[in-house]
Assembly symmetry: C2
Homo-oligomer: 260 residues x 2
Amino acid sequence: MTRSLNRHLLDNIAIVLMHPKYPENIGAAARAAWNMGLTRIIIVADEYPNHERMAKMATHKAAPLLDSMEFHQDLGEALKPFSQIVATTARKGRQRILQHTPRDVMETILPLLPENQVAFLFGPEDSGLTNDDLKYCQLISAVPTADFSSLNLAQAVGIHCYEIYQAVVYSGKKVRSAPAIASSFELEGMYEHLENALLQVDFLQEKSHSYYMRNIRQLLSRIRLNSKEANIIRGICRQFLWHTSPSGNSSKRGGKKPQQ
Amino acid sequence: MTRSLNRHLLDNIAIVLMHPKYPENIGAAARAAWNMGLTRIIIVADEYPNHERMAKMATHKAAPLLDSMEFHQDLGEALKPFSQIVATTARKGRQRILQHTPRDVMETILPLLPENQVAFLFGPEDSGLTNDDLKYCQLISAVPTADFSSLNLAQAVGIHCYEIYQAVVYSGKKVRSAPAIASSFELEGMYEHLENALLQVDFLQEKSHSYYMRNIRQLLSRIRLNSKEANIIRGICRQFLWHTSPSGNSSKRGGKKPQQ
């Protein structure tokens, strides 16, 4: 059966819910994920959500997904293993970042699945994802709706899981595998390094700090850096930091160079 | 804007919920429909569903859909104006009737929309549509899921509305219009006539009655009869009935022939 061909790729996909307000929606999202063969649910919240209220909407079939659900208090921590993070938002007239339909997103994601972990990130029911949440994301997915209305959380998760299952399993297409790319953990380390270097040479200043960092992230996320390349950029930052820091300057006159 | 091109075609589509158990699901379905620009909700139930419980899940935005919602106690009555009725079911391993994905269904439906009314019919949460409900339907749509699991009602409505909006509005494609076909009202009249004629010549007998009628319906639904053709078939039935009935036989010997 061709339809079992890519089934294992679903294991490389996680549904990440950022600060969901209602545990019932986590349950409904878990059920939608389970229907489409997805098993990884990650919750980012201050407190562990009420189990009974989740279970009510998950029904007994999707209950195992709640039991194995990952819980984090910090989004950056939750996203560490993922190399490709898809933010989901309500479609807006104007946006800083290019939005895609879930169907288009799946075309981009599909070749990455064999070698990479992919997260679909959903914001809180009322307010959606913040700019600070979006900084981790390489792609933005928005479900086309009438008059830019917004779906409820469970429906948004449902439609994305449906498109994932259609593209990965149901199409029965052989996936042409793209190489592994750097994980969020590696990228965030690199960005921190880069930020420090740019601060030290006064490129980043209070007013424009977040503006430039956002643009640098967007620019670099388009390259799909692999681990080696992220390390090369870190190596460059290290050298700049060393050569521009007071201690670096002093050690230039007799000290040791840092290891690349 | 090409995307406003087909928007009016959404008015020719209705979401029909057969015996929904929970008014909350009607509300959630209404919200999903509203998000995708659909405005016609039809409920078939013994009693009018509790408004407060529906409104809770519809939110204030989709509330107008509940106010204009049609209510019927009989499915046949509810479906009268529709020329194409799509039954939605959980995907099963073996089925009497061919199942399609929502995406494939939309390819079939799209050219019919300019000249025909189309209904998407959803069964009760627990049991789905019965064979007696299915007899009105020309197409069966099943959302592909993992291990043939079943979606909840609101998710099934949501995914269908999403595919409708994608195909009709978002694709921006010009629709090549197919001609008008007979409505459910016209077809049901024809089937009743046909049934009477077949009973009179003893083609239909107690044991095989529903078996043959189901097969005749399936066979004729593939032809997409228009109103004139449905009337021709009724005319043929009328003649057979007249010539085979005791009064018809008697009038053959001196009476008048019925008008074609």
